[in-house]
Symmetry: C2
Subunit: 147 residues, 2 copies
DNA sequence: TAAACTGATTATAAGAATTATAATATAATA
DNA sequence: TATTATATTATAATTCTTATAATCAGTTTA
């Protein structure tokens, strides 16, 4: 479905003079098709079958390269490891404090906040992030809590 | 200036049945008087002089206790280590991507977003976080970039 | 006051996530 | 093809955080 997005991303890579290696291509493709904001380790495990010799360092290196070009955004939630997201379509996240589930939440982009922040602080604003925390329906249940 | 806030916080500790040890008191006081959202290590280094025998684990333990009571909020920004904040007055943060500087940014709480999120997702919302990212005035300068 | 109990601190080790290093391999260019 | 530059791999090192066990301090009870 998102062939265009992948092509666009690869064009961006080419324009940046970054080589498109099989591993790099796979990391990018996996991120584009993934809706779950994976961690580096999850990406590594997912591509292990296709690239049995791939190192975890390669995943981190490629994520860094993709982030530097602006194709990928690194997000740190409460848990220990970073999560990675292709920052194409704007949306927010709501996160369950009990089970860690992450659900997309569509809401108009808070442009007003950004522009006011620029005026007040003198920063050049590039983006913002917002997460909502709470308890998901599954974890709200009577005695069925945690773990 | 913020004697009242410290007293309030200590009362909360007492009501929760948590012992008020010198180390715990010091961590709490440091956080209340600090405007910089320090990391655990920064707190440790700041109190090292007063408590030469204090362990880093003590700082982490106390931060966890204070967080569980609700006196302290743990924030994970882009960098590697968590930062801690006394979540008394509601405000947002704007963060410089170049130098990591964090500036408070006052804006009306986004209650509307929370209530809409509850309706749409079925979560029980407890709180939200929003951070704005950009380049601060100091880092915007001509060739004076990074580090 | 003494003894017992609970919780806190310390020192240390262990764990996990990420980054750095050096050697090898691959791709691009002349 | 030869040369050069970049990527990958394997491994080690760092950093942040948590777990463990022993010691210590404060509180309660007899």
């Amino acid at each position: 479905m998102s062939e265009t997005r992948l092509d666009d991303a690869i064009n961006t890579l080419k324009e940046s003079g970054v080589r498109i290696t099989p591993q790099r291509h796979a990391v990018l493709e996996y991120l584009l098709n993934s809706m779950t904001h994976p961690t580096a380790d999850e990406i590594y495990k997912a591509l292990e079958g296709k690239f049995p010799n791939m190192s975890v360092a390669t995943v981190y290196n490629n994520l860094r390269v993709l982030r530097e070009i602006g194709l990928v955004r690194e997000l740190t939630y409460g848990d220990s490891s970073s999560r990675f997201d292709c920052n194409t379509s704007e949306h927010y996240h709501i996160i369950c404090n009990e089970c860690g589930k992450i659900v997309d939440f569509h809401y108009p982009t808070l442009d007003e906040v950004e522009s006011l922040a620029e005026q007040v602080t003198g920063f050049d604003v590039t983006y913002h992030r917002m997460e909502i925390y709470g308890t998901c329906e599954g974890c709200k249940g009577p005695a069925t809590q945690k773990h």
